[in-house]
């Protein structure tokens, strides 16, 4: 079995689906998600809001039917994405985001129940990131971009260790799992936690997550310095979003 490396760099492609307004495929830490965004389109009567657009998020598991866990993830994503999309610009409209999970890292030590799909928290960053990339690809006006990361506190040899982008094995033994998202201005957008933890631990997690999501690259520092920092802090999500968009725009405008 080819088990994906947990520390692998994220990969993304924009505009992968020809028939939707915007789409993105994103894979990181063993998770692969494809998203399509259609919007602003006509909303159903029941979803219509005279003051703002309705953001509809649909999470579809790779295998099995979605249940309450998927609905829970959808509601979390919906509320945090509504904050960054300029929904007031499109009254009575619908912005539809469909997230199709393609791959999740498998735990080789457990036989998974698949017919009733049950997602865990660790997939949240992948879902969030894909949604943001697809929204960018669809050209939906947003207040800021955002990046998310998952952090787990894993007890190891009596010492608590913070793990960024935990593997299914890590989550199984973790004391607490946290998902945090930050906007490109460095503001906290989403904080969801599961398990036991203290306030002090959470502060540490906040710092780690913030560093991953939006550590600003100091302009005056040398290139070597930056590389060192990146190696220790894992992938820099903000930079990643930016470079993905840059390469997409460069490819689209190559004739200019």
């Amino acid at each position: 079995m080819a088990s994906p490396c947990a520390t692998s760099a994220p990969e993304a492609a924009l505009g992968v689906l020809p028939r939707s307004d915007g789409s993105a495929k994103y894979s990181h830490a063993g998770y692969t998600v494809t998203a399509s965004v259609n919007g602003p389109i006509e909303a159903q009567r029941k979803d219509e809001n005279p003051y703002e657009a309705f953001v509809d998020v649909i999470v579809r598991p790779a295998a099995g039917v979605g249940g309450t866990r998927e609905r829970h993830l959808e509601s979390i994503l919906q509320s945090s994405l509504s904050h960054i999309i300029l929904i007031k610009n499109f009254p009575r409209c619908l912005i539809q985001i469909v997230l199709q999970i393609e791959d999740t890292p498998e735990n080789d030590y457990v036989n998974t129940k698949l017919v009733q799909a049950s997602l865990n928290f660790a997939i949240m960053p992948a879902l969030f990131q894909t949604a943001v990339l697809a929204l960018l690809s669809a050209g939906v006006p947003m207040r800021a971009t955002a990046a998310a990361t998952a952090v787990a506190v894993v007890p190891q040899d009596g010492v608590k260790k913070t793990v960024v982008d935990p593997s299914p094995r890590d989550i199984e033994i973790a004391q607490s799992v946290h998902v945090l998202a930050f906007t490109s201005h460095g503001e906290l957008l989403l904080a969801e936690s599961e398990g036991d933890f203290t306030v002090k631990e959470w502060d540490g997690i906040y710092e780690t997550a913030k560093k991953t999501c939006c550590h600003s690259t100091p302009a005056k520092d040398g290139m070597e310095m930056v590389l060192d920092e990146e190696a220790s802090a894992g992938p820099d999500m903000r930079h990643f979003l930016r470079s993905t968009m840059e390469s997409k725009v460069a490819a689209d405008l190559y004739w200019k």
Binding site: T32, R60, E102, N111, L114, V115
Partner: protein
Amino acid sequence: MPREVEPSLNEKQFVLQALQENLRLDGREIDQYRPLELTFGDQYGVADVTLGKTRVLAKASAEVTVPYTDRPLDGIFTIATELSPMTSPAFELNRPTETEVLLSRLLEKTVRRSNALDTESLCLIAGQKCWSVRVDVHVLSHDGNLIDAACFAVVAALRHFRKPDTSMEGGVLTVYTPAEREPVPLSWLHSPFCITWSFFGDQGEIALLDATWVEEQIRVASCTISLNRHGEICQIAKLGGTPVDAVALLQCSGVALTKAKEFSTYLDGKLAEDTKKRNKGGLLAELSAENDR
């Protein structure tokens, strides 16, 4: 929900007239498929099929459950096709459209009822435990000829899939995790493929293979032939009101056979390539605890 845009009268006339002059909008031959591409995922049982701009992802999975009381010796095999709004905003969740019902019916008839997967081999303890194999078909992008692409994806996913190995000792069933024993392939009997012909014109005199979305909206009838590479026909579904000449249908099934053979060779090649990629150092045969039949 927004409705799909129908082609305008001008567009319809243009496509039809071009077809009468033996021309297709994308410059293909009458019996030529768009480039078919198949990629397997990192996991077993994930097949991503691209046919032009149509893209279908199929994922096979298995778990141990209780068999149906009326079929204690059979395992459970289901194909789930649900078109999400990702395919087109016109599709709604939990509200099946005609396209979706037709697709699931045809896949059911082609793969399940033709006994492509031996369901008896999925039985573990008669009446108590069996494997439930499920294939989820996700349509990511729909640009015509969904049926052929979906059927190919389902067959590819099932043939690529490996279920956990099991053993029975003294009435105790053990299901091994992938870390303990290398998973085993399903007992697969034959590979059926769907070939869809679309008919155009007042008498349905023009026949096309692999219609695009625009062509599908204009066609007067369609005929889906499911067959394997030995020419054994699993089902024929002729849909649409316009009658089609019987001799024309015979010719269609003749061409369908050559296409099914091409599909079969392509799939075999891809599967062999994937096995070779996974089998680094040739140790997979030693890991397997399965006996040859």
